[in-house]
């Protein structure tokens, strides 16, 4: 066997960007509240008007980065590969993490759907090992089912935990 694992090459479907954007939006909502609160606090403390506006502008920039830029980067960096002996994941915008999960260590595999992922025609696949779980956040339903069944088949080789 070759000592080096090839880099994973499968991408997530493009709809994943929309899903990520909605997820970021939910993360950005408290940010907006925080900014509004900070602005009124500044106003109450008698700070000049521009400070409040600066806070709002800063929050707006952060929101744009969070909602428009980060989801695209997240999507662009996500790679996975499913091989007979391992599941290979690489993801992360700033911290890029690559993880190998031996298929014989897989205990079970879930597919997950939410209201939003249904609208976008996406499914998540969650791979459980005795040590924890790993998630491929967005896949076409057919791919998700195929991956789930494939992993289940590969994982059938017994692993006595």
């Amino acid at each position: 066997m070759n000592d080096v694992h090839p880099e994973p090459d499968q991408r997530l479907p493009t709809q994943a960007r929309t899903l990520f954007a909605f997820q970021s939006l939910m993360a950005a909502a408290p940010l907006a509240l925080l900014a509004l609160g900070a602005r009124s606090a500044l106003a109450a403390a008698g700070a000049p008007d521009w400070t409040g506006i600066a806070v709002l502008a800063l929050a707006a920039v952060a929101a744009v980065v969070l909602v428009a830029v980060e989801p695209r980067l997240r999507w662009r960096n996500w790679r996975y590969a499913l091989r007979d002996e391992e599941i290979d994941l690489r993801r992360g915008v700033i911290v890029v993490t690559r993880t190998l999960i031996p298929t014989i260590r897989v205990q079970h595999v879930d597919t997950q759907r939410t209201w939003l992922s249904d609208r976008l025609g996406l499914r998540a696949v969650v791979i459980h090992t005795a040590g924890g779980s790993h998630r491929i956040p967005a896949l076409h339903p057919d791919t998700a089912t195929a991956i789930r069944d494939r992993i289940a088949e590969l994982a059938r080789r017994p692993d006595d935990v």
Binding site: D3, A130, G131, P158, D160
Partner: protein, 541 residues
């Protein structure tokens, strides 16, 4: 019965809990060479145990449970009652009535609870109103553990925990009061080694001095000491620097030293609690390897005997706490699939051990993780990437945690270990200084603490692959080493931040079956990548 008295005691011939559903007695004759005071176990022809009740003391235990559940209402009633005389009488009536109900319920529950062995399954029935029945196939039972509380000990009975692969420390079936003879019979029927373990098995004991040392160096204390020192320094600072102290000394001489005394008192009390806690939990601690099982016994008030199949011990983690490392001491925890979420004590292999003795003890008790039995010399140089064959090969005379052969972060990673910790120290110091200006000496002190912690973390970090065992170490105040058979990792990762990418560094992390993970930060990227690529699962036989 047919076995000669000195015949080797054999555990279940199949160690795997998944060895099929065959009738249990085929798996081994009952042990006739034990000091059986009761009638010997049922002959082989009887595949089942007749349905039976627990020992009657179970009724008392159930009644006590009811009382414990009701204790809050009772206290509320008594408090209310003490306010007004009439209600007081009512409370007394209710308390007596409640006690009667508790006893009646306890007896009723005891009568409703039975267990039996039928069709190769253990069946446990209980419940007054909603009847519950738990059925566990004997083939799935990997151990029957015991616990013994004060009441159980008084009556010479045991609490039995029927364990399967899925469960935690609390068994799938819990039988709260079973006589020893009955427990032995149940074990025999389940094809498990019966009590007690022969004296010639590899064994490790925590002696009296060891127990006291455990208490004295209890991990909680490592956190308490600097905390108390900090509090004392704080008191000294507040009252020292602002001149309040002089005033205080004049006005109320005990004011400033009072706080220091209070801190000292709190420390002593907490320390005493930690000490007593360790004593209660670890008193009489012993580990015995009986074939392919570990039997761990511990506890003062509540005696517990736990059986852990070695096949499920995927890894161990070694903790060198701040109070233990200076003396070359550590504590060792089992990383066992299925027990991951249990409290620390339930997973302890050695509460206190000399680090130097670890290899010898592992070879005796957990040979799967020891290195001695291996044959070929280890190839510790991983620059080229070890082959799977290297991973399975062994190290001759190498020691699991010996200082050589470790891959450590390079010198250029040092500042990455320091920077975040110093920043945290500075930030905390700055916040404190802004809040209480007289605390400004804390600012450099905390920054210095950050440096020290960072250096400690840098010096602890590293990994080693030898003899197919992968060790990863991290931590600052407490050093933690996770030692795992490299082929049994659940997953492993390599992560890089943009800064690390520029500096050709990476962070390696791995997860073992208990869910415990270990990460070693800021390693040279090339050997880490080689390690990442070389790790392959080895199927468990």
């Amino acid at each position: 019965m047919s076995e000669p008295p000195d015949g080797p005691r054999r555990p279940a011939p199949e160690s795997s809990p998944t060895s099929g559903y065959g009738p249990a007695p085929e798996q081994g004759p009952p042990d006739s060479n034990q000091q059986v005071t009761e009638p010997p176990a049922t002959p082989d022809e009887r595949p089942a145990l007749a349905e039976r009740h627990l020992h009657p003391v179970a009724a008392a235990l159930a009644a006590l449970d009811s009382v414990r559940d009701a204790i809050v209402s009772v206290v509320v009633l008594v408090v209310i009652g003490s306010q007004s005389g009439r209600l007081g009488n009512l409370a007394a009536v209710l308390a007596v009535g409640g006690a009667l109900i508790a006893v009646t319920l306890g007896i009723a529950r005891w009568r409703a609870e039975t267990y039996t062995v039928v069709d190769g399954t253990i069946r446990h029935r209980r419940g007054l109103i909603s009847r519950e029945e738990t059925v566990v196939p004997l083939a799935r039972v990997h151990s029957i553990d015991t616990a013994q509380g004060p009441l159980q000990r008084l009556f010479g009975v045991h609490e039995l925990h029927v364990q399967t692969a899925g469960g935690g420390a609390r068994g799938e079936i819990v039988l709260r009061a079973v006589e020893p003879s009955e427990a032995r019979r149940l074990r025999t029927v389940a094809g498990l080694p019966a009590d007690p373990v022969a004296p010639d098995r590899p064994r490790w004991r925590l002696g009296g001095r060891g127990l006291i040392a455990v208490g004295l160096t209890a991990p909680q204390l490592g956190i308490l000491l600097p905390l108390a020192a900090g509090t004392a320094a704080l008191a000294d600072n507040i009252f020292g620097d602002t001149g309040i102290r002089d005033a205080a000394v004049d006005a109320a001489p005990t004011e400033a030293s009072g706080i220091a005394m209070l801190a000292l008192l709190v420390l002593v009390v907490l320390w005493a609690v930690a000490f007593a806690g360790s004593l209660v939990v670890y008193a009489g601690f012993s580990v015995v390897r009986d074939g392919d099982h570990l039997r761990i016994e511990r506890g003062f008030l509540q005696r517990r005997a736990t059986t852990v199949p070695l096949a499920r011990v995927h890894a161990i983690s070694v903790a060198e706490g701040p109070l233990r490392r200076p003396f070359g001491l550590c504590s060792v925890r089992l990383e066992t699939a299925g027990y991951g979420s249990e409290a620390g004590a339930a997973r302890t292999l050695f509460p206190l051990l000399r680090l130097a003795d670890l290899d010898g003890q592992l070879a005796e008790l957990v040979p799967g993780l020891a290195l001695e039995r291996a044959t070929a010399p280890a190839r510790q140089e991983v620059g080229g990437g070890p082959s799977p064959a290297t991973l399975q090969a062994g190290a001759r005379g190498a020691e699991a945690l010996a200082p050589d052969g470790w891959r450590r972060p390079p010198q250029r990673a040092l500042r990455r270990y320091l920077l975040p910790r110093v920043l945290v120290g500075l930030l905390a110091g700055a916040i404190l200084t802004v809040a209480v200006p007289s605390l400004w000496p804390l600012l450099p002190a905390l920054a210095l603490a950050g440096v020290l912690v960072g250096v400690a973390a840098f010096r602890a970090a590293g990994w080693r692959l030898a003899g197919g065992r992968l060790a990863a170490r991290h931590g600052a105040l407490t050093r933690r080493t996770v030692l795992v058979s490299a082929g049994r990792l659940q997953d492993h990762s390599l992560a890089q931040t943009p800064f690390q990418r520029r500096a050709r560094l990476a962070t390696f992390s791995m997860t073992v079956a208990s869910g415990t993970s270990a990460a070693v930060a800021h390693l040279d990227v090339a050997p880490s990548q080689a390690l990442f690529d070389s790790l392959r699962p080895i199927p468990d036989s």
